[in-house]
């Protein structure tokens, strides 16, 4: 991408963005003030590419608003009514079940806050949906509702959340944040919980391993400074917990809302700027959502080139936005979303509630492991006819099993599982002796792990196999493995935790609260076998045309050649995010062997043989 700044005040901001330096309030104001919308978009698109590659996510989802009866009377809301109002409705658990269709993967539940519903009724909704529809993940209740439960049912916020999680709640929506400014809250939302309450609920959720979303309601009486301050507060909270999945700017919908802080819709330019600026300010947020129902389909689709990497979904019912005059059609068909994303030059990726890719609606997609250790392949990769999907190893394997990726650096186990359709190439990620990024954090020595519960990151396909081998064959113990989910988890429930990739590298360096011991799995393997360990191998779909395959091989070889001897330079910025010094990054990357040689192949065979012995039923 070439830059052609028409507004020179953007240049210092761009320099910061390239160096992954944090943007200040003043930077944000300069971005809002710029007439150069295109350069702003390019900067945000650059950051989005680093985070999500070519992917734009969407989800097959439905929205449930279980009741419109509400004890609050917020001025801007024309959804809520009082009990006894002719428009009032209350859905039973049965009503809710009957509106769900099995083809969705996420249900989003928010609603009014009636005075007379018992606590059990909410738990029952979540529990019953999970039981009847095991494929549907429940995202439910804004911080405002959680706070209401806390007060009404006289339970600590943490207990409310713990019970909901136990009932099956996976994530929480980000609504109710409005604008964190106390000035605005007093004028418009004085019955809502305010910044402190909102953050209190979200941080409590994150500590319990419930990832959440976040929102900003803009385009009414708030100032640009108040918008940016809102983003900065979210960024600080994210530094603390890492629990936010996405940020969703919501354009205020003027309509029949009693108050008219502004009588017209936000401009498309304000919408695009807000998307782009949030992508640039929220450097620690994985995703920015262009919520088409509020933003209009027009703006949301263009926003995919201005930093947004999520379009929300098919959304069944949208009474709140619709009642206030949102012009989007009630149901945007899946194929329309796919077409909008493709026209924007991106790959449509159907996701689950945690942003795990479920289905890729595009051809020629290469999976990219988003960890520091694969940077020598990807930092200078000429993608040519290919599209890039950053995806963790285990998820890459699941997509490969479905034939959805043409190539990638596959976890060794996944390569073996898909050996019939994949052809092995000449490159890999192999350790020499230690790895530093496949780590078991534990409170027990190896021998004492017998019968213990080990939390295992959702990202691994091969390391979990290696851990099992080490436990069974090297130490002769048996532990229970529990899969963690993507995003924040509560590690307190486990005796040990297996992490991989950047997460493991970070905690290896900075420690993981609650765990005393740290084991490097590759070092354990080396100590045992005196062999390297091959974590991942490059492989390509066998049915890919020969010339495409050759072109890809040439590209991989060229990428490696370009980065050879430059590990410090190429890894510096990535390392910075993990709070690693350039020298540490260099040492880490030099610990790998990226070419698949005889010693590596021998190690692969040994691992395969031992794994077959431990899992006699499983052929790999």
């Amino acid at each position: 991408m070439t830059f052609n700044f028409r507004d020179t005040s953007l240049i210092p901001v761009w320099e910061k963005v390239q160096k992954r330096e944090r943007l200040s309030m003043a930077d944000g104001l300069a971005l809002y003030a710029t007439p150069d919308l295109i350069s702003l978009g390019k900067m945000a698109n650059f950051v989005q590419q680093q985070k999500s590659g070519d992917a734009v996510y969407f989800v097959l989802n439905q929205k449930i608003e279980h009741t419109n009866i509400c004890v609050l009377s917020c001025k801007f809301c024309d959804f809520a009514v009082k009990k006894g109002d002719p428009e009032a409705y209350e859905m039973t658990t049965g009503d809710i079940l009957s509106t769900l269709t099995p083809d969705i993967t996420e249900v989003h539940i928010t609603g009014g806050m009636p005075a007379d519903w018992p606590w059990e009724r909410y738990l029952d909704i979540v529990r019953t949906i999970c039981r009847k529809y095991p494929n549907i993940d429940v995202k439910a209740f804004t911080a405002v509702e959680i706070d209401f439960f806390h007060k009404k049912f006289k339970m600590p916020v943490g207990e409310v959340l713990r019970q909901l999680k136990e009932a099956g709640l996976k994530t929480m929506p980000g609504g109710g944040a409005e604008v964190f400014s106390e000035r605005v809250r007093r004028l418009l939302f004085n019955q809502k919980i305010g910044a402190k309450g909102w953050f209190g609920v979200h941080k409590a959720a994150h500590r319990l391993g419930i990832p959440t979303n976040s929102t900003l309601l803009y385009g009414h009486i708030e100032t640009l400074g108040e918008r940016l301050d809102h983003m900065i507060q979210l960024r600080e909270a994210q530094d603390e917990t890492g629990g936010f999945l996405t940020f969703i700017p919501l354009a205020f919908q003027p309509g029949d809302t009693g108050i008219k802080p502004r009588d017209r819709f936000t401009s498309a330019i304000d919408d695009l700027k807000t998307i782009a600026i949030s992508r640039l300010m929220l450097d620690n947020f994985p995703h920015i959502k262009a919520y088409w129902v509020m933003l209009t389909e027009e703006v949301a689709s263009v926003a995919l080139n201005f930093g947004a990497d999520d379009m929300d979904g098919t959304v069944g019912q949208e009474r709140i936005a619709h009642d206030a005059g949102a012009t989007s059609p009630m149901k945007l068909a899946k194929d329309r979303i796919i077409r909008l994303i493709k026209d924007a030059g991106k790959i449509p990726v159907e996701r689950d509630v945690y942003y795990n890719p479920l289905k890729v609606h595009a051809d020629n997609v290469i999976g990219k492991i988003p960890y520091l250790n694969s940077l020598p392949f990807h930092s200078d990769f000429e993608k040519g006819p290919f599209k890039i999907l950053p995806i963790v190893p285990r998820r890459m394997g699941l997509l490969a099993a479905d034939g959805q990726l043409v190539a990638g650096l596959f976890s060794l186990m996944d390569y073996y599982r898909n050996e019939s359709t994949l052809e092995l190439l000449d490159w890999c990620i192999a350790t020499r002796d230690q790895v530093k990024s496949v780590m078991l954090f534990s409170n027990h020595g190896w021998a004492d792990l017998d019968g213990k519960r080990i939390g295992v990151t959702d990202e691994t396909a091969t390391s979990i196999g290696l851990l099992r081998l080490l436990l069974r064959k090297k130490y002769n113990v048996k532990a229970e493995f529990v899969r963690l989910h993507a995003g924040v988890n509560s590690y307190a429930d486990f005796d040990a935790v297996l992490l991989i990739g950047d997460q493991a590298l970070y905690h290896n360096r900075h420690g993981l609260a609650g765990f005393e011991l740290v084991y490097d799995l590759a070092a354990e393997w080396y100590d045992w076998k005196k062999m390297p360990f091959v974590f991942a191998v490059w492989a390509v779909k066998k049915d890919l045309p020969r010339e495409t395959k050759n072109a890809l091989c040439a590209t991989i070889a060229e990428s490696l050649r370009r980065t050879e001897g430059r590990y410090r330079a190429i890894g510096e910025l990535h390392g910075k995010m993990l709070r690693l010094a350039p020298a540490d990054v260099e040492e880490y990357l030099e610990g790998f062997n990226y070419t698949l040689g005889d010693r590596e192949k021998e190690a692969m065979m040994e691992f395969r043989k031992l794994t077959a012995e431990v899992n006699p039923g499983v052929t790999i």
Binding site: M1, T2, N4, I38, A268, N305, G345
Partner: protein, 365 residues
């Protein structure tokens, strides 16, 4: 064959694009790269943050039409229920009302109604000029002009000459659709060939008329055919210099026979790509119009950052898109706000792009 980066440099430096280069841009350039290049051309042609608009209305004198375009939801056959044809008196009354509300331009088009004589059209022009002098008549598409030649037995240049003598000075550029006969035969086989549209425009420009040029994409055309369209009007502009502006818009499938084949609106991103490539390719056009009424107000606003320097009309009355269930009405105040909220200075213009009034931000405060 030129590579994309070199092509972008060429466009950035103001080089004229060959057709295959236009296709390459349309197919492969990134959206924001196109926006950047188009802005560069826009800044050379129309420096400064001004965006123009015209206070106009877009009524129709008849919906009777014998052309049967499958992309149209507006027309009725003679005798069909819902058909109408208004008298000149009726239209003059409408123009008076429009003029009273500040309208300066009337873009008048109809179906091609074989029952109307040529004198009806001449009368319409003469009486508008005599009786509603505040209004600039911007009347009759190429199809109607060819229709007039048919009913009168005159040649097209003779028809144009008589309309000119009656006082008509500009002609709207509708009906071009895609200037490629493969496409035209499929979507509007009775409308005449691409050459017919070009011929009427050429003859009009020779007499001294200024006209706009349009393009309707998003149906059966290919990228190559879009660029062919641009190439043809660029060549005619080299020859005559008669075009004031280019206006691309997307096909609206609602209630049209073509809906069965093309059920979706073209996406906003596609519109911005087509608009930007048009701005880059049509290096001899002064103005590119953002078509908010066909693409939506928000897309219209974004289009101003992708090479458009004009926001089109306020369209107090518009029936053709409305018939396809795509309704977008605006008023002068709202258009001013839409332009201003996009970061530009609104300026009201006349049909010939002379500035009538600048809505200066300082003056507004």
């Amino acid at each position: 064959m030129i590579q994309l980066p070199a092509l972008c440099d060429k466009a950035r430096n103001g080089g004229r694009l060959a057709p295959e280069e236009g296709v390459l841009l349309l197919k492969h350039a990134e959206l924001l790269e196109l926006g950047d290049l188009a802005n560069g051309v826009r800044a050379r042609k129309n420096p400064g943050p001004k965006v123009t608009f015209v206070v106009d209305t877009n009524p129709n004198y008849t919906n009777v039409c014998n052309i049967d375009c499958i992309f149209c939801a507006f027309y009725r056959h003679p005798g069909e229920e819902g058909e109408y044809t208004y008298s000149v008196d009726h239209m003059i009354g409408e123009f008076r009302r429009a003029a009273a509300s500040g309208v300066t331009t009337v873009l008048l088009q109809g179906g091609v109604n074989p029952a109307l004589s040529f004198s009806y059209y001449l009368d319409m022009v003469r009486r508008t000029i005599a009786e509603v002098p505040e209004i600039h008549p911007h009347f009759f598409s190429t199809s109607e002009i060819i229709g007039m030649a048919g009913v009168s037995g005159l040649t097209v240049p003779e028809v144009l000459r008589q309309l000119w003598d009656a006082g008509l000075r500009t002609i709207p550029g509708g009906g071009a659709e895609i200037l490629n006969d493969r496409v035209k035969k499929k979507i509007s086989h009775l409308k005449g060939s691409s050459d017919d549209w070009m011929m009427v425009m050429r003859e009009a420009h020779r007499i001294g008329y200024r006209t706009t040029a349009t393009m309707m994409y998003g149906h059966l055309e290919t990228d190559e055919e879009i660029v062919e369209h641009l190439e043809r009007i660029r060549r005619l502009q080299d020859e005559t210099g008669g075009f004031t502006a280019f206006i691309p818009w997307s096909f609206k499938p609602g209630n049209t026979p073509l809906e069965k084949i093309i059920p979706h609106y073209a996406t906003p991103v596609r519109y911005l790509q087509v608009l930007a490539v048009s701005r880059i390719y049509l290096d001899n056009f002064d103005h590119i119009q953002a078509s908010w009424f066909s693409e939506g107000k928000k897309t219209g606003q974004i289009a101003l950052h992708f090479g458009a320097d004009d926001f089109g009309g306020t369209l107090f009355e518009e029936n053709v898109h409305a018939a396809a269930n795509f309704v977008n009405r605006s008023s002068a105040d709202e258009v001013v706000n839409l332009i201003r909220d996009s970061g530009f200075i609104p300026a009201q213009r006349d049909t010939l792009y002379n500035i009538l009034r600048v809505f200066d931000p300082a003056a507004a405060a």
